[in-house]
Amino acid sequence: MDINLMISVFPSLLNGTVITLKLLISSMFFGLLIGLFFAILRINNNSLINKFAYGYSYFFRGTPLLVQLYLIYYGLANIEFLRNSFLWVVIREPYWCAIIAFSLNTGAYTSEILRSAFQTIKEGYIEAAQSLGISKKITFYKIQIPIAIKQSLPAYGNEIILMLKGTSLASVITIMDLMGEARKVNVLTFKPFEAFITAGIIYLFLTFIIHNIVKYLEKKYGFQT
C-alpha cells in the first residue's frame, strides 16, 4: 500500500465526487417527480393506465441499469429523427444521458415505494377527511401525499444509497465521476488497490452521511401508526 499516492490522488478524486453528487442529486430530483407521477397512475382504477405504469416499472426494474444507460447513450443517437430534432443537444451529451437513465431507473423504484405507501394508508384517514367535508383533491394533496412520503422514508433512503452506487456506471460512458477518476488513477499508476480503495472510502463516507441524514429525517418526521 502506497499511502502517499492515496493522499496525492485525493484532490482529483474529490473533483470526481462533486460530479457524482451532481449526478445523484439531479437524478434523485427528477426520479422523485417521475416516481410520484407513476405511483399516482398505479393507484388509478383505469386498468389501461394501470398496466402502462406497471409495464414501465417492470421494464426498468427488470433490466440492468447498464443496459438502460447504453440504450439511451448509444441507442437513441441511432434514431435519425431524434438526431435532427432539438433533443439532440441533450442526448449527445453523456452527462445528460446519464441523468436521463438514472432518473428513469430510480423513478421506477420510487414509484413502487410510493405505491405501496399509498396502499398502506389506513382507510380511516380518508374516511375521516371525507366526513370533515374535505374535497378529494385536497385530501390527496394534504393528507395522502404527506403520509405516503413519511411512510416511505426508510425504503427511499435505501433507494438513494442504491442510486449513489448506480452513478458509478456513469464512468463507462466517459463521465469523469468518482469512479472515472479512480479508473484514471489506476491506468496512470498501475496501482489498482490504492486507486479503488481510496475511491471506496469516499463512497463509504457518502453512504454513511446519506444513511444518517435519512435516519435523522425518520426520527424527526417519523410517522407512528
Partner: protein, 230 residues
Amino acid sequence: MELLSFGDTGWGDELFFATLMTIAVSIAAMAIGFVFALIFTPLKLSKNKTLNLIGNCYTTIIRGVPELLVIYLLFFGGTGAVMYVASIFGYDGYIEINAFVTGALAIGIISGAYSTEVFRGAILSIDKGQFEASQVLGIKKSIQFYKVILPQMLRLSIPNLSNVWQITLKDTSLISVTGLVEIMRQSYIAAGSTRDPLFFYSVAAVLYLVLTFLSMKIINKLEVRFNKGY
C-alpha cells in the same frame, strides 16, 4: 430480424450462448455468495464483539461501495495479489485469472453480503421455542443447526433471496467491463460491428426481462413447495 438468425450471418447463436453465460455466472456468483453468507451470518449473530465487528464490516463495506468498484478491484488487483502470493511460494511466472472466475467471485462477494443480511433476518425471526425445544430434546448444537434451524431459515428467506437473485442477475451485466462475453458484452460487440446499438441493446434488455420473468416463475413455485407444511 435477419440480424438475429443463427449461424454465421446472424447474432442469434452468439446471443444465445451469451445468455447461457449470464445464467452460469449468476448461478456461480449466487453459490459463492451462499458460502460467504454461511460464514458471515454466524459472525454477525455471534456475541463475541470482535467476530461481530468482522461480520458487520463485511456487510457494511460491500453494501456501501459500488458494485463496479468491487469488480475493478478484483479484476485489476486480483492478478497482482495472486502473483504476489505465488511469489512467496517461489513461483515467479505470470498468472492470469480467468474472467469468469474473477467475475463470479466479485459478484459472489456482493451477493454474499445481501444473503448474509437475509439469513440473519430469517434466523432472528425463528421462534425462540424452536431452539429451546431442540435443546430440551438433547439435540447437539451442530445437528440442531442443520436439522432444525436451517430448513426453517431457508423457508423464511426464500422471498428475500429471490430479490438477491434478481440483483445478482442484473449485476452480472457489470462483468462485461472485464471482457467476459455475456449478454451485455455480446450486445456491445454486435452493436459495434453492425452499427445498430438501438436494436442490440433492446435485444439485451428483452433477454434480461425474460430471465427475470422466468426466474420469478421458478421462485414462486419453490416458495409454494417450501411452504407446503404451513
